[in-house]
Symmetry: C2
Subunit: 592 residues, 2 copies
């Protein structure tokens, strides 16, 4: 071997297929195949519809559902994640690629392919360098707000297909204005198909399963039949359009979908295209990853399995690169689809590969049947799917729980609706980081006193406690770092200025998890300035790791006061020196 | 009164002069005048030199030392801060304005005036909206590194005047290359003046005071004479240059400095100029404010006085606007100068106003005497002043104390030297914020066990503690928020996956100061997924404010386990149910 360190274990870590394939048997195969059949039925109309949403030819949705699934099956760690085109990423693709080319042109499709490739490379790099934590800066409320706003945008954008008119735009104002301008061109037959299909799909979602159960079907079968609703809508509306020749009456149809294997495609390597798509690709990668990893984790936990987020990045990266070389566009793990896959019994990523085989058959054999499929049917599928993502309750929940979170989510929703997906989500992320920094820069500081009869110290403003005019104790409820270092200085000076009797200031550090260099220098300044004012500075309840670090500086030697193991020790030592003989305090000068 | 809410107290808060002028008497006047005389002597050569450093005519340094000082005396809260041109801000002015116009042109001077105005407006706005906390994001090590690197840049840039050659550039590589290219043009007489002046000033700084004390002078007088060293250098080299006609031998001189009152000037209101100067003005404002407020705070603390950071922003904003309307350029509080002012006995901001009168006299009467002043003398003044700012020990101190701080300071120094002041300081700020976020996104989590014979819990990896295979207790040493929410999820799943005996997970929250919405949802997910795996989730030692907030959500109702007041209670309840009758736990469903 030329790579002796490449043990089987590390190989398995990077190629999860090696691990799960070891125990693959006939039972697992059966489970996976059943799940794959159900997911395939669900995925055919979805992949066509999402390609349409992305402004791409319908077949690109199918292509994005073949090779990417195989790539994920090899590199992914989730046993139930179903990868493919999803609504939000399709919308983001349309927004990103729309800046570069006109819908319907070859450049547009080429840009979507390049976008998938860049996104794949970004995901791979993040995975290889274990940078998955970057996705953490997308807070849950920002994601929830973004998904809700995207759902509204997507549903609105699909209304044009329901009305059979033209409309465009990447934000709510543009789309709605455009719809109103063209509403006089509404095609009544298209509208009829669109509305009945939408109504039918909503009914399938809510009412079909109870009905089937009422007919005595087994729950599992009823469930599968309900999931096949969109396929039924596709079949029926296609037949009706063909039989009555509705395409001649202005009903827009999917038209010719090429039959055959996915084409071999190559992304563009033009530096200008890369630089103009890079930020979009980064956003798509991170949004896609966050969505995918959270559903993967939820499903894995149900079986006490685990996924590896950094390896998930590799799996999704491989999927997107696979999409780029086989005529697809950006993909990620879909929420609804993965849940169906899990419920249908998928046991390994092989179920995804079998789904790919199903879609491949569709691409090889079924595409001529899609010629008369009305676009309104696909739009109805999308609308019904995305409206389930819309949940404005995140506004009320955050309002109730935390105003800071509310501000971030409200800004994300407003900006996504008003200015499009990219501005919306980037501002949401920036705002939540800024608000977090702002919060930590003004930490909660409580002046505490002794609860009579105990050794506990509590906030003097909230509790009836004993204090001593010569001793001020401040409990800081935050790690001390550069953003709040000056705040602490100001706070301490304000407290001691003009309060003559103060002789001792004690900082109770039970909630201080870190003191960085700036905070250390602020403590030095506080110590120095309190000394100038004739006041001693003490600390109590300093955590071990923080104390270790302080011992590496000169601060403890310079500090005018002591470090006490507990706040009670501090109070006794400073106010009752007669009792203080046995008080324990840290040896400030101990060599470490 | 048309503004009934404008009480005298609030007026005093916004016009500090109203407060200190009430107790102004003859003694205060004497102290202030003495301090003003000493600062004036120090400021005349400094203001000329820093104007030269900024690439501006020498008189603009004088103008920047008149009206701005009066404005600060009215609006500022520090009683000892000496405002005026300073080295680092002058360098930043040169970098900012150099992008817009050529040195020596009227456009260049006009851009510097506009820069002062924009900077003044920014400071005022930050002050009025109490946004002073923004300056906190400049960490101490980043500032220290930036000042050190700026000192090196400034000293190097002044070598051209010492050698009497031309050189230019905004980073070390450009400046040094330029010096080497032109070194064959070195003027020997200039070099002689430059080197002797530099040597003299270094000696004045280190050796003069002990010598004078040895002659029996009073320490105070010795100190003042030592501070007058630069003035002596100015007088002697000017006389020598005049008497020996050195200007005819290639020694560059200051030349004609207009005599008279500062001119009335107006900033440009051209949108393009504003947008190209805005970021520079923001950086100058924040750097200037941070430098100024830290010296003001140090000096105020010595007399148990206090300054108001937000009012300081107003004071510095007013100073910069005053500079812009009177032919000056950006100013801030100078470190050395303020210390001199304080040591000389300044008691109120009036000392600054008296200094302004002194500089005004200089502008009215002394400027003809400056005609033969060699530029090399001013360069020597600058070099000696800024080399005292250079302190690379920040690198070793941060290396020893915290590698994260070291990374930020090393990047700041390297980028400032290599790419100029603006890139240096912006990257330093961005990097320290990112590193802080990274740290908090991977908090310290300890699995803890009971220290035998106590009720204390400690890290199982560091201490010999008792554990129970059915109960896992995790102590999280960080507030829980979006950036570490997913980390916590991963951590918990990784810990429980494949460890069959686990029946209970306890999160010990003694160091958790905040749980935001994302972390709440992660806790909900953890609770849900542990439930699916047959494990109960408990919490212990949750702080009051955090508990208050949790009670506003549904989490506590959904949580499968309990909230225990102490970790010991949790362990007893979960492992010795026979003893747990009296265990206290928080009432999860209590209405708040």
């Amino acid at each position: 071997m030329r790579l002796p360190s490449l043990t089987r274990a590390s190989l398995e870590r990077h190629l999860p297929i090696l691990e799960w394939s070891k125990t693959y048997d006939k039972d697992t195969l059966t489970s996976d195949v059943v799940a794959a059949v159900i997911v395939t039925i669900m995925l055919i109309p979805q992949s066509l519809a999402y390609a349409l949403l992305a402004g791409l030819p319908a077949e690109m949705g199918l292509y994005a559902s073949i090779l990417p699934l195989v790539a994920y099956a090899i590199f992914g760690t989730s046993r139930a994640l179903a990868v493919g085109p999803v609504a939000v990423v399709s919308l983001m693709t349309a927004a990103a690629v729309g800046n570069l080319a006109l819908q319907g042109t070859a450049e547009y499709a080429a840009a979507a392919i390049t976008l998938a490739f860049i996104s794949g490379v970004i995901l791979l790099v993040l995975g290889i360098f274990r940078l998955g934590f970057l996705a953490n800066f997308l807070s849950h409320p920002v994601i929830a707000g973004f998904i809700t706003a995207s759902g509204v945008l997507i549903a609105t954008s699909q209304l044009k297909h329901i009305f059979g008119i033209d409309a465009h735009g990447h934000n709510l104002v543009e789309i709605v204005t455009s719809l109103f301008e063209n509403q006089h061109l509404t095609n009544p037959i298209t509208l009829f198909i669109g509305l009945t299909t939408t109504a039918f799909l909503f009914w399938v979602r809510k009412g079909l399963k109870p009905l089937l159960l009422g007919f005595g079907l087994k729950p599992r079968l009823a469930d599968i039949l309900a999931k096949a609703g969109p396929v039924a809508a596709v079949v029926v509306t296609t037949l009706v359009t063909w039989i009555f020749g509705l395409a001649g009456h202005g009903v827009k149809i999917v038209g010719e979908v090429p039959m055959g294997l996915p084409p071999l495609t190559l992304p563009s390597f033009d530096g200008e295209i890369w630089s103009s798509l890079f930020v979009s690709a980064l956003l798509i990668s991170i949004i896609g990853f966050v969505e995918s990893v959270s559903v993967a984790q939820t499903l894995a936990a149900k079986k006490r399995q685990r996924i590896t987020p950094d390896q998930e990045l590799v799996g999704l990266g491989a999927s997107n690169i696979a999409a780029a070389v086989s005529g697809g566009y950006p993909v990620t793990g879909g929420f609804a689809r993965s849940v169906v896959n899990f419920d249908a019994g998928a046991e390994t990523p092989a179920a995804g590969a079998f789904t790919a085989v199903g879609i491949l058959f569709a691409a090889l054999l079924l595409t001529p049947l899609l010629f008369f499929l009305p676009k309104a049917t696909l739009a109805a599928t999308i609308i019904v799917a995305v409206l389930s993502l819309v949940d404005f309750s995140i506004l009320s929940r955050t309002w109730k729980y935390s105003k800071v979170d509310f501000a971030a989510v409200a800004a994300t929703i407003f900006l996504t609706l008003g200015f499009g997906v990219e501005i919306g989500v980037s501002t949401g992320v920036a705002l939540s980081v800024l608000l977090f920094l702002y919060k930590t820069s003004r930490p909660h500081v409580a002046e505490v006193g002794l609860v009579p009869g105990t050794q506990h110290f509590r906030n003097i403003l909230r509790h009836d406690v004993q204090t001593n005019p010569n001793v001020v104790t401040l409990r800081i409820d935050e790690s001390l770092y550069f953003a709040n270092a000056r705040f602490l200085e100001d706070y301490v000076y304000d407290r001691v200025a003009c309060d003559e009797p103060i002789k001792h200031v004690v900082l109770q550090c039970s909630a201080v998890n870190e003191i960085d260099m700036s905070a250390l220098e602020s403590l030095e300044a506080i110590n120095h300035r309190l000394h100038d004012a004739g006041i001693k500075l003490h600390m109590s309840e300093v955590k071990g790791p923080v104390m270790d670090r302080l011992k590496r500086s000169h601060f403890l030697e310079e500090m005018t006061g002591e470090v006490f193991l507990s706040q009670y020790d501090a109070l006794v030592a400073l106010t009752r020196p007669d009792l203080a003989g046995d008080i324990a305090h840290e040896d400030k000068n101990a060599a470490e």
